[in-house]
Amino acid sequence: GPVAAQDKTQDKTIVFATEAAYPPFNLLTSDGKIVGFDVDIAMAACEKMKRTCAFVQQDWDGIVAGLQTRRYDAIFSSMGITEERKKQLLFTDPYYRPSAAFVGTSDVKVDFKDPALGGATVGAVPGIYECYVKKAYPKAKLTVYPNSDALYLDLTSGRIDLAFNGMVAITNSFLKSDDGKGFALVGEPVRDAGCLGEGAGVAMRKDDVALKEALDKAFKDMRADGTYKAINDKYFTFDIYE
């Protein structure tokens, strides 16, 4: 009967997809495990929902297609929520709200009032970050990179003066690495609901309202009982949720 059917869906493992290439949020360990902030949050949420969960690794190019064809149930990969994207996918409430920032050599001087950024060349990855730079500095010389790695590589090689990216990705990953020596945040962190969106969420198929509601509730509970803070503090020195 209907009860048995519901039990069955309750038993099924929830499968999340991630790119596993965006430290510290999602990355691969040497034994092939997928770890990171996203994964910890996901697993804690699953515990709250009393469900078993698993992660699979999926290339970004096919990540939405895989969701739509039910290869997995949700994308848990620090996806930025924007109005445009909401038209395609169903998002949870944000589970963190990254700010973005510019990074450059410690001595670089930039005129942030100038729509051309004072002639500085700037790089960003496509999507929300590209959108922001274009909107805020329409005259700036902008180069678009396929991923954050490439972006930092060109920053260190001097092909660009500034990189614009998620704040956490900059401070927790790039600036801590060897390559990041001699670089620093430039200017103030940016928050902009228009381009940068509301924050990072979990993406699901449009009709999966039950899962969205369960996850939203789990996130709330985790915020309330300190689970979230514990995970947050494992990675960051500030509260990334706000």
Partner: protein, 230 residues
């Protein structure tokens, strides 16, 4: 160095995926290519046009796009059918899907390679086979294939190498091949170049081994021919 040895198993596993995929796909592509070349040269106009459409459409789409379409598009179709019939949808295995889509893509290129080689076979040799009354398959096997393979070998070899490298595309359908492993480990550890070099070496070893086989095959197929020193 520690990073390298730690992560090597993942890259090696990726290489295994690459090897298995490329071998499977090449067999499939060769079969499709032979059939396609036959169809491209067939007397029947409809068959000819169908084969032409296949080669233009498949070569016309970027392999990445084609793979997405075949795999996810195919899955969408299966899901829709299954939903309509109230059945549990069949899941396409990524590995099978990888072999099939790469085989279908490169079958189109091989179709053209084999067609070109066929045109270069001395006409008289084929006529001699026809004249003794060989049935089509025997004719193909005994008279056409050996010179066809000889003439197609350089193109075939190139396509093989391109195919091996195109196996990296399967990451979009959720398989982790050597290149994808290297790229994602590179990003996870922020040491991109180390793993790229590892992948280059692995590829060179694999393709080098295959090269030896091709060279031997080339020598064997060249038996009986006189090449002119230019």
């Amino acid at each position: 160095m520690k990073v390298l040895t730690d992560f090597l198993p993942i890259v090696l596993h990726g290489m295994l995926v690459t090897v298995a995929l490329s071998l499977g796909a090449m067999v499939l592509a060769t079969a499709i290519g032979l059939g396609g070349a036959w169809a491209r040269l067939a007397g029947n106009r409809a068959v000819r046009l169908a084969a032409l459409a296949y080669t233009v459409l498949v070569r016309g789409m970027p392999p990445l796009v084609l793979m997405l379409l075949l795999y996810f598009g195919g899955q969408t179709a299966i899901n829709a059918t299954a939903d309509a019939l109230r059945l549990e949808p069949l899941r396409i295995e990524p590995f099978t899907a990888g072999i099939v889509s790469i085989g279908v893509i490169f079958g189109a290129y091989l179709t053209e390679t084999f067609r070109g080689a066929y045109l270069s076979i001395p006409q008289g040799e084929i006529e001699a086979g026809i004249a003794v009354g060989m049935p089509p398959l025997t004719l193909a096997r005994v008279v056409v294939l050996p010179p066809l393979m000889r003439l197609a070998l350089p193109g075939y070899w190139n396509i093989w190498l391109t195919l091996v490298k195109s196996c990296a595309l399967v990451s979009v359908i959720g398989l982790q091949d050597a290149v994808y492993a290297a790229l994602s480990i590179g990003r996870s550890t922020r040491e991109p170049f180390t793993f790229m070099l590892v992948v280059m070496v692995l590829y060179l070893a694999y393709t080098g081994l295959a090269d030896l086989a091709f060279r031997a095959l080339g020598r064997r197929l060249a038996r009986g021919t006189r090449t002119a020193g230019v």
